[in-house]
């Protein structure tokens, strides 16, 4: 192991938890603070990308197998559409939130906004898995 690799790996292991926690913070607090699911998902994906860049593709794939990213990608979209179906079941338009009679909660708390928090989690997972899939696909491709 070269000395440059050692520094890179140690710093990555130190910084990585903070990146991930910040990414999930941005996703979950999209209703009450700046940010939102798109930015948070990209930050979460950047954590995995940093790990895979420092430790090599095989290590990265061991942490996040292809099956996991592909199912996250597909079921994220399905999750969004299923949450939209709540409105249709209640007899109001697709993706309705207040019209569907959902309790909006106290503004300023994490549980506020009814469906918005759940939709945000779906979008965040989708964006993160798309970025990771693009990264691994481009890296593993043989020129």
């Amino acid at each position: 192991m070269k000395i440059r690799d050692l520094i890179l790996k140690r710093i990555t292991t130190l910084v990585l938890p903070f990146i991930q926690v910040y990414g999930f913070y941005v996703i979950f607090h999209g209703q009450i603070s700046p940010g939102g699911s798109f930015a948070g998902g990209i930050i979460v994906a950047l954590g995995f990308i940093a790990y895979a860049t420092a430790f090599g593709t095989e290590e990265g794939r061991a942490v996040l197998p292809e099956k996991v990213t592909i199912s996250a990608e597909s079921y994220g979209t399905l999750w969004y559409a299923l949450l939209g179906m709540v409105g249709i079941v209640k007899g109001v338009p697709f993706l309705a939130n207040k019209l569907a009679g959902i309790d909006l909660g106290v503004p300023g708390t994490i549980s506020s906004g009814g469906l918005i928090a759940l939709l945000g989690i779906g979008v965040g997972i989708r964006v993160a898995s798309t970025m990771v899939t693009l990264f691994f696909t481009m890296l593993e491709e043989e020129v």
Partner: protein, 81 residues
């Protein structure tokens, strides 16, 4: 003209300089790094215009696209050992 206005004007000039550099620079890796500078300055400008949402998205997405572009360059260009 306040101090903040001068700062904004300076940042806009840095933006122009960075985009011209991305166009004229020969080394592709250096061009990607300068694109990272562009993205960072753009994020500061969004923050200056009272839109922190766009600033966070610009910082994160700019860095992500920079990493992907660097990856494509890494895969497609010939490396000197």
């Amino acid at each position: 003209m306040t101090m903040v206005d001068y700062g904004n004007i300076a940042m806009l000039f840095i933006l122009i300089a960075a985009s011209l550099t991305v166009y004229f620079i020969r080394n592709l890796l250096h061009a990607v790094i300068v694109y990272g500078v562009f993205s960072f300055i753009m994020a500061v400008i969004w923050l200056q215009m009272n839109s922190p949402d766009l600033a966070i998205t610009e910082a994160a997405a700019g860095i992500a696209t920079t990493v992907l572009m660097m990856l494509v360059i890494f895969r497609t260009s010939r490396r000197e050992e």
